[in-house]
């Protein structure tokens, strides 16, 4: 029997599961779709309720995970097929050509300067550009470059090759082909995380129509010192710094109308944190949070809200809201309801706490693995009460947001929990 585990998804849940397993002496194959591990947490600026710097606490884990003698981190790869059963899965992993030799690249970045192609950066939520050869972010692990074959003009049109010329280590190989790996593992942990819902279709919020309406993830990148604006909050319309911010909760979530009747469980706290950070950046920042129910229900959360009110002057208004715009200055006008009376107020910027939804790819993966998903696309646990993370397929376990809304500590706990379950399953399959 195979004493190794595959972890699919390199976010914090996957990293935690991998580390827990690797530390137990089990070989872990961590498959990550994007060029770097780190997942959503890497995009965050701070984390609630301690306002820890997210990347500061994550980066050591990423490095540990990558350099652990028992881990095999396969980035830029996807699981395309699975056979077998618990104790003896055969997993087909498509490792996409990154056109850069991982063993040669030092991530020095000389090639970046020479690449003429600009593409909106996925990591920066499109707020800034990356090159066709890139690392998704500064602290990426592994810190090697990747060529995006859709946009590289050498690959698409056969001319350029600037990066190859710039690379002293000759790490660039335009001839690189996708590779199909076949990996045998005893069990599998799925931790594919979430996506942020695009609120363009809910036109009442004006996202995409009014320049100064942002999503929470965009704001998060903007306020990050390493982000596209170097931590400066600025308006799309005039690059001015806003002072009056409105945060609107439950945009697309808790809304059966748009198909996400569930609560995303993290946005109340997330927006509170964003409002607090605004005030930390500038004393004159005033934030208002429009909410349905302030769901601050884990350790230290309610105290955090109280602190936001008391020390950061964050105003909380119990109302859903819609957005109009003052055409003269592009100031968003938030329309809300206090005591059954319509009110409206002009703000400099509106930040939408959009629904967090399971990734589309997760459903495909579920099909490959034979997992059940609910109608929202969350993967289902077979035992809803005592066995969260155990699935209908023996030997396959879940962790993190893919299994339902969870914040970082819950994802970490689920990562560890899935690791324990994977070991138990293999022990059982091995007749132990």
């Amino acid at each position: 029997m195979e004493k190794s585990v595959m972890v699919i998804g390199g976010g914090i849940a996957g990293i935690q599961a991998s580390l827990d397993l690797a530390d137990k002496g089990i070989i872990v194959h961590l498959v990550e779709k994007s060029p770097s591990i780190g997942g959503r947490m890497a995009q965050l600026d701070k984390t609630f309720p301690t306002n820890d710097c997210s990347i500061c606490i994550l980066a050591p884990k990423m490095a540990d995970c990558f350099s652990h003698p028992n881990t095999n981190v396969i980035t830029y790869a996807e699981v395309v097929g699975v056979e077998g059963k618990v104790g003896a899965f055969k997993v087909k992993v498509l490792k996409k050509a990154r056109f850069v030799d991982e063993t040669m690249c030092t991530g020095c970045g000389e090639c970046l300067e020479k690449c003429p192609v600009k593409v909106p950066s996925e990591f920066e939520m499109g707020l800034s550009n990356r090159k066709a050869i890139y690392t998704p972010f500064m602290q990426a692990v592994p810190r090697v470059m990747t060529i995006d074959k859709e946009n590289c003009i050498m690959i698409t049109k056969g001319k350029c090759g600037n990066c190859k010329k710039a690379c002293k280590r000759e790490a660039i190989d335009f001839e690189m082909k996708d590779q199909m790996l076949e990996i045998e593992v005893g069990s599998i942990i799925v931790a594919t995380g979430f996506d942020s819902w695009n609120p363009t279709t809910s036109t009442e919020y004006g996202y995409g129509r009014y320049p100064n309406v942002y999503t929470a993830m965009e704001y998060e990148r903007m306020i990050n010192a390493a982000g596209p604006t170097h931590g400066h909050i600025e308006r799309r319309s005039d690059k001015k710094r806003p002072t009056k911010l409105a945060f609107i909760q439950c945009v697309g979530s808790r809304n059966p109308q748009v198909g996400h009747p569930y609560c995303c469980a993290v946005c109340c706290m997330h927006s509170t944190k964003e409002a607090m950070l605004a005030r930390e950046h500038h004393d004159d920042m005033e934030s208002t949070i429009f909410y349905k129910d302030m769901r601050a229900c884990a350790k230290g959360f309610w105290e955090y809200i109280e602190r936001a009110k008391r020390d950061y002057g964050v105003r909380y208004l119990n109302s859903d809201a819609t957005v109009q715009e003052n055409p003269e200055n592009h100031n968003p006008i938030v329309v809300y309801d206090v005591g059954g009376r319509q009110q409206s107020e002009e703000f400099d910027m509106v930040v939408l706490a959009t629904a967090l939804i399971p990734r589309k790819e997760t459903l495909e993966l579920a099909k490959i693995l034979g997992l059940k998903a609910d109608e929202f696309g969350f993967l289902e646990s077979s035992d809803r009460i005592l066995g969260m993370g155990r699935t209908n397929v023996p030997g396959v376990f879940l962790a993190g947001y893919a299994a339902g809304p969870a914040d970082i500590p819950e994802s970490v706990a689920q990562g560890s929990s899935a690791a324990a379950k994977a070991v138990e399953a293999m022990a059982l399959a091995g007749g132990a």
Binding site: D20, D23, K24, G25, T47, D52, I57, L58, P69, M104, T106, C108, E110, K168, R169, P256, Q257, G259, P261, Y262, C263, A265, D293, R295, C297, K299, G300, F301, W302, E303, E306, G339, G340, D374, F376, F378, R384, I385, L386, G387, M388, G389, P405, A406, I408, P409, E410, V412, A413, Q414, G415, S416, S417, A419, A420, K421, E424, A427, L428, A432
Partner: protein
């Protein structure tokens, strides 16, 4: 990964330092005159070899380090290139493969901290690079080989608490192949859940739900169950805890365990003096209500009020107790849908409470509206036909809340279901809470309707108070015994709220379930499995190995004042039998707080000694 036999380095041997300066392509070479820096390095004291590489981290660079160690008999290696935070392990491993203790390696960062940040000042950048290498060499001269201490781990676990968390953790450890002692102070397994009627999300009875778990725990060969028992004392450190367990009417049991999982659970807050509790009849807490339901001894009800946040969120305790909204919602639905069953009629029919499937997403069709209308056919002449009474005409449930904490998928859907089933939710503010009083023989609730700005009142037959979970009374004793911290609310405090949710700062002890804060059964069980996973790591390894970045106490200087014990965040300092301080190497993380604190300056930090730091800093201050 296999390591070559490390040759013994004599600490007193004169340093023979090799310096490797990296061009990192043009990343460093473009802005720093690398060859001249390498030349300069040769002039530094004790440097016997210096060279420059295009990429020191490339295989040829690493080879040149290995060769240098052999050829020049180097006993210290300095690499000047990028940041130690990503590349130190690589070079350390290289040194080790050439037989050099990895603690005799020093890293100098001349890329992130020099060439890249002084791209327009090559001369000054070169001067700085020289200085940085000089500092590195000064430090290297004082480096000492270190042995990483290995401590064997007893591969047996201890789980304190026999509730759902404790049982899950114990079973998980057992299933992973480790013997476990499970200690429960009551005579029965199950913990708090035994009080409950059914568990939300499913309508299955609580006892039925945990029955298989209890049976598995009892059946497991690896679980040694200690009922009616308590942990009396715990001494030792990770891998080596000496535990004494006391059982009622039996002799104390002494045993050795490697890791400990704390799962001692929580209590329900008793709302003495609030909302007429213990003053008027039919005012109960959520758990009391559950017990009534479980025993099928509810009184006859027509109007029930739930009051949320009784004592929590800034009243008696500052926190939100996370689960009470969802428990109240569950019970509200039970009352509306299954009231007759709850009255005990079900027992006569021999059925348990029916499973009511949670109605999920409404199909997004415009014609859906018709559903609403069909129930209401009216006569030709506009005369109202017999109006079909909704369930609410039989029994009315009102939930007074401040915010409904129906987080996630299933809670929110259940909340939606409750409203669809005509459970009324009325929001109140802490300034204007509902009032419970008697009017004659009638129990009444009055409230202020926030939106309509109206004072309302209604007769009720029962008031259910949702009170928060509070820590067990013996949490403090437990925390002192285990030397683990409590947070300000009295809950056990995990090592890091974000990334180490089930670890204590002290290695070897783990925490899960409601003893570290309110959680529902699913979350508690998940944490328990997580804690088991964490606890299994040192046991699976069989040893713990501490990086040799620890504090060392000079017991001649130590006066035993104990300040270091007080400041250490990991409980890694203790008093030895001489009454002097001693580092528990396995627990020490090397932050240096004790060293900087020790009033007698009796503590030094390996690999970061005062002498090393001062030498490094002063090297740049010397007049050239």
């Amino acid at each position: 990964m296999t390591m070559a036999e490390t040759k013994k380095t004599d600490p007193n041997e004169k340093p023979r330092i090799g310096v490797y300066v990296c061009h990192c392509g043009s990343n460093i070479g473009g802005f720093v005159d690398v060859p001249s820096v390498a030349e300069y390095a040769k002039t530094l004291p004790d440097v016997v070899y210096a060279t420059d590489n295009l990429y020191t981290c490339a295989e040829d660079g690493l080879t040149s380090i290995r060769e240098g160690i052999r050829k020049h008999n180097l006993n210290r290696v300095v690499v000047a290139s990028c940041t130690p935070r990503t590349h130190a392990p690589l070079f350390q491993t290289t040194c080790e493969s050439a037989g050099l203790n990895k603690y005799l390696f020093t890293f100098v960062n001349i890329r992130e901290h020099c060439s890249w940040v002084h791209m327009k000042e090559k001369e000054k950048a070169t001067l700085k690079a020289r200085d940085l290498i000089k500092m590195g060499v000064a430090r290297a001269r004082l480096l000492m080989p270190q042995e990483e201490e290995k401590v064997d781990v007893e591969p047996t676990g201890l789980v304190i608490g026999g509730g759902v968390s404790g049982m899950t953790a114990a079973l998980s450890l057992a299933d992973m192949g480790f013997p476990v002692h499970l200690v429960e102070k009551e005579g029965e397994l199950g913990g708090f859940v035994r009080n409950l009627n059914n568990l939300y999300v499913t309508e299955k009875s609580a006892t039925e739900t945990i029955k298989p778990l209890i049976e598995k725990v009892k059946a497991s060969k690896n679980v040694k169950l200690h009922l009616n028992s308590q942990v009396k004392s715990v001494e030792g450190f990770i891998g080596n805890y000496d535990v004494v367990m006391a059982s009622k009417g039996a002799e104390d049991i002494k045993t050795k365990v490697g890791t400990i999982v704390v799962a001692t659970g929580a209590l329900e807050f008793v709302p003495e003096g609030l909302y007429g509790y213990n003053q008027y009849p039919n005012i109960v807490t959520l758990t009391e209500f559950e017990i009534l339901c479980k025993k099928k001894s509810l009184p006859s009800l027509k109007n029930v009020a739930f009051i949320q946040c009784v004592g929590s969120r800034g009243q008696k305790v500052s926190y939100c107790s996370r689960i009470c909204c969802n428990v109240a919602i569950k019970n509200a639905i039970n009352i509306v849908d299954n009231y007759e069953n709850m009255l005990g009629l079900a027992e006569k029919n021999g059925t348990i409470i029916d499973t009511v499937p949670v109605e999920k997403k409404v199909p997004d069709e415009i014609l859906e509206r018709r559903r609403r209308r069909r129930g209401r056919e009216r006569g030709e002449e506009g005369e109202a036909e017999e109006v079909k009474l909704g369930p609410s005409e039989k029994i009315e449930v009102t939930v007074f809340n401040r915010d409904v904490m129906a987080y996630g998928v299933e809670h929110e859907l259940t909340y939606n279901k409750a409203r669809e089933h005509r459970v009324k939710f009325v929001r109140y503010t802490p300034e204007n809470p509902p009032k419970v009083f008697m009017e004659g023989n009638q129990l009444m609730v009055s409230y202020f309707h926030e939106t309509l700005k109206l004072d309302r009142s209604m007769p009720v037959d029962m008031v259910v108070l949702s009170t928060p979970m509070v820590p067990q009374l013996d949490t403090r004793e437990m925390s002192q015994m285990l030397k683990v911290p409590q947070g300000q609310d009295g809950w056990f405090l995990e090592a890091h709220v974000k990334l180490r949710p089930v670890d204590f700062a002290t290695d070897g002890i783990y925490v899960c379930g409601t003893c570290k804060g309110p959680a529902d059964i699913t979350e508690a069980a998940t944490q328990a499995a997580a804690a088991a996973s964490r606890a299994a790591i040192p046991m699976a390894k069989g040893y713990v190995q501490a990086e040799a970045l620890t504090s060392v106490v000079d017991d001649i200087k130590c006066s035993g004042c104990g300040t270091c014990i007080q400041v250490c965040p990991y409980g890694a300092m203790r008093k030895n039998d001489k009454g002097l301080a001693e580092t528990i190497v396995a627990a020490c993380k090397g932050c240096g707080c004790c060293g900087a604190t020790c009033p007698e300056m009796a503590i030094t930090m390996t690999n970061y000694t005062d002498a090393q730091l001062l030498a490094e800093a002063k090297a740049t201050l010397e007049e050239v």
